[in-house]
């Protein structure tokens, strides 16, 4: 049944791709710039020195407050962090209501186009894709359980790889994901860890349909749990109980045991720890970088014109999200396999993590941020405010009393 659907589905992908690229260029009058303010990246020290009225360095000036005041209000109008946790604002509309933030009613022609779009997407594409999705998942569970019955050995590994790849490829079709893989010579090898930026659970399907990985994650109940238990019969994945997740040493040990065994597949990890909206890469948690094996970075970039892949977990549940995905035009994305990296002499885990992050951000054309993705749900640490205070104190008394400590 799948072979009958495959060529049909690829044809749809191509038609969609071509026609909508043409349409979007025609609809360019929808272009709307979305930056609200222009910020100048000046440092605290520079700004305050500029403001000093010259003369015999007064230690404190009442105008010093202007710097903090302006930066504060600028961040109220437009900040770098909160906008990463909601879907990217588009410059031109892609005919999906859910991406329609700032566009006023333009014309009836556009409304008609949108209406036709809805019919096609929900009446035609969605049922097709849902069928494929069920097929893919069903086959995954059944076939991995069958492979699990084989004795451990080369045959089992071979079958397991084939089964996983086939089922993931069916799932890719179910999402009509048009993926371009670059630099496949750098694909992750056994005994290493693959790290990638995280935008949605679909990232897993995209990467796993081109290569075999060992997954890492928490044990779930329900359907996810069934899938997890079936997968682990065919080849070793790393599933943690909820309680084990807190124990960092246990986690590190299990990961290093896995990579030490060269017959096991490379581990797939998303070090951001949470879904970000694919405009930036946020802080990488250092855990996976402490293990001391080769790291294979991968950059994933989705094209927002065809569908928004970001999963805003505070707004939509998983089912809702999947429905959105399957009723978009297509998921178009690019995957870049970067050359492997290892920790260098004298580099600690955090520096290594930042180096990898910078490489991924550069390749994918994403902003490289130091902010923690955990800020989606939690508060920022006090220590950052203390850093700002320290900086200002240095400016205040730097030239007189801080001489000995102030050399940077």
């Amino acid at each position: 049944m799948e072979s009958y659907l495959f060529p049909f589905d690829s044809l749809i992908c191509m038609l969609l791709g071509i026609s909508f690229t043409v349409w979007f260029t025609l609809l360019l009058h929808l272009y709307k710039p979305y930056r609200i303010i222009a910020k100048e990246p000046v440092s605290l020290e520079q700004e305050i020195q500029d403001m000093r009225r010259g003369g015999a360095e007064p230690e404190f000036d009442m105008s010093d407050i202007f710097y903090f005041c302006r930066r504060g209000v600028e961040s109220i109008v437009d900040d770098e962090v909160t906008k990463r946790f909601t879907a990217e604002e588009l410059e031109s509309w892609n005919l999906l209501t859910r991406s329609n933030y700032n566009f006023h009613h333009i014309s009836t022609r556009l409304t008609a186009l949108w209406g036709v779009g809805v019919l096609i997407r929900y009446g035609f594409l969605l049922p097709l894709r849902v069928t494929l999705a069920f097929t893919g998942v069903g086959l995954l569970v059944v076939l991995t359980s069958i492979v699990g019955l084989f004795p451990n050995g080369r045959m089992k590994n071979y079958l397991s790889d084939k089964v996983h790849l086939m089922c993931y490829r069916i799932c890719v079709r179910a999402l009509t994901a048009i993926i371009t893989y670059h630099d496949s010579e750098n694909k992750p090898k056994n005994g290493g860890i693959c790290v990638a930026n995280h935008t949605s659970p679909i990232d897993v399907i995209i990467l796993a349909s081109d290569g075999c990985y060992a997954m890492v994650g928490q044990v779930h109940g329900g359907l996810m749990g069934v899938i997890q238990r079936a997968m682990v019969k065919a080849c070793p994945h790393i599933w943690f109980e909820r309680s084990e997740v807190k124990d960092r040493h246990l986690v590190a040990k299990r990961l290093s045991d896995h990579v030490a065994d060269k017959s096991k597949l490379p581990i797939l990890i998303f070090p951001e720890g949470t879904c970000i909206n694919n405009t930036s890469v946020m802080m990488f948690k250092k855990g996976s970088f402490e293990i001391g094996c080769t790291v294979y970075p991968v950059a994933i970039k989705y094209d927002p014109r065809f569908g928004d892949a970001f999963w805003n977990s505070s707004k939509f549940g998983m089912v809702n999200y999947l429905l959105h995905m399957m009723s978009s035009w297509a998921i178009v994305c690019s995957v870049w396999y970067l050359p492997p990296m290892s920790r260098m002499e004298g580099e600690d885990a955090v520096q290594f993590a930042n180096r990898v992050k910078a490489a991924i951000a550069r390749k994918g054309g994403l902003a490289d941020l130091l902010w923690d993705g955990g800020l989606k749900r939690g508060k920022v640490k006090e220590v950052f405010k203390e850093e700002q205070q320290k900086l200002y104190s240095k400016v205040l008394v730097g030239s007189t009393s801080f001489q000995s400590t102030n050399q940077d």
């Binding site: 710039p33 979305y34 930056r35 609200i36 303010i37 222009a38 910020k39 100048e40 403001m51 009225r53 007064p58 230690e59 404190f60 009442m62 105008s63 010093d64 407050i65 202007f66 710097y67 903090f68 005041c69 302006r70 930066r71 504060g72 209000v73 600028e74 961040s75 109220i76 109008v77 437009d78 900040d79 770098e80 962090v81 909160t82 906008k83 909601t86 329609n100 933030y101 700032n102 566009f103 006023h104 009613h105 409304t111 949108w114 902010w371 800020l375 508060k379 920022v380 950052f384 405010k385 203390e386 700002q388 205070q389 320290k390 200002y392 104190s393 240095k394 205040l396 008394v397 009393s401």
Partner: protein, 195 residues
């Protein structure tokens, strides 16, 4: 099928805000979008928590004072009008201000009003003068634990000495203006809003 955010903002409101603050139509709708995205409770007004959720503001040493400026005396909710009125202080001063003939006096982004905004950041109890105590408290917010009480005290004393002309050991608004007369307030207290 208009945009969801701006459909809650009526044209008459936009016109009034335009007159009062000098922002353009598109700036107002964009800022309304921002207001809406900060308003997690979706009740048409921002609370202090909504502001504190912005990490860059939370790490600003004067973050709390700035947040306070958005809330009128004694209130806990900032509506969009108030939000825009406060932001209007940071509009750049243009040479040919169209609303120079505002009947309500000076435009919100005049030099005097920008200075008044900064003055109010220091004046914690809103009694129109900055006492030594208030100055010390604000200084303490800006430097954290990195400077001793004595040093901070002497900085405060020196500042008041330089500014105070009428000998009441406090800085009034006119003394504040005098002290900062050579500073380019218009540039330092302006944000480049794009059209």
């Amino acid at each position: 099928m208009g945009s969801r955010a701006s459909s809650l903002l009526r044209e008459e409101d936009i016109e009034e805000i335009k007159k009062e603050t000098g922002f353009s139509h598109s700036q107002i709708t964009r800022l309304y979008s921002r207001f809406h995205s900060l308003d997690k409770g979706e009740n048409g007004a921002l609370s202090r928590e909504d502001f504190q959720r912005i990490p860059e503001l939370a790490i600003n040493p004067l973050g709390d004072r700035i947040i306070n400026a958005f809330f009128p005396e004694g209130e806990d909710q900032a509506n969009f009008r108030g939000f825009m009125r406060t932001l209007a202080h940071f509009r750049p001063v243009e040479d040919n201000e169209k609303n120079k003939d505002l009947t309500s006096g000076e435009p919100l982004n005049s030099r005097t009003n920008k200075l008044l905004f900064a003055f109010r950041l220091y004046d914690l109890d809103r009694d129109d003068k900055i006492s030594r105590d208030e100055l010390l408290q604000v200084l303490r917010m800006m430097v954290g634990v990195n400077i001793s009480d004595e040093q901070l005290g002497s900085i405060a004393d020196r500042t008041i000495q330089e500014a105070d002309t009428n000998g009441d050991m406090c800085i009034s608004f006119s003394e504040f203006i005098k002290v900062l007369e050579k500073v380019d307030v218009e540039q330092k207290m302006s944000i480049r809003f794009l059209h």
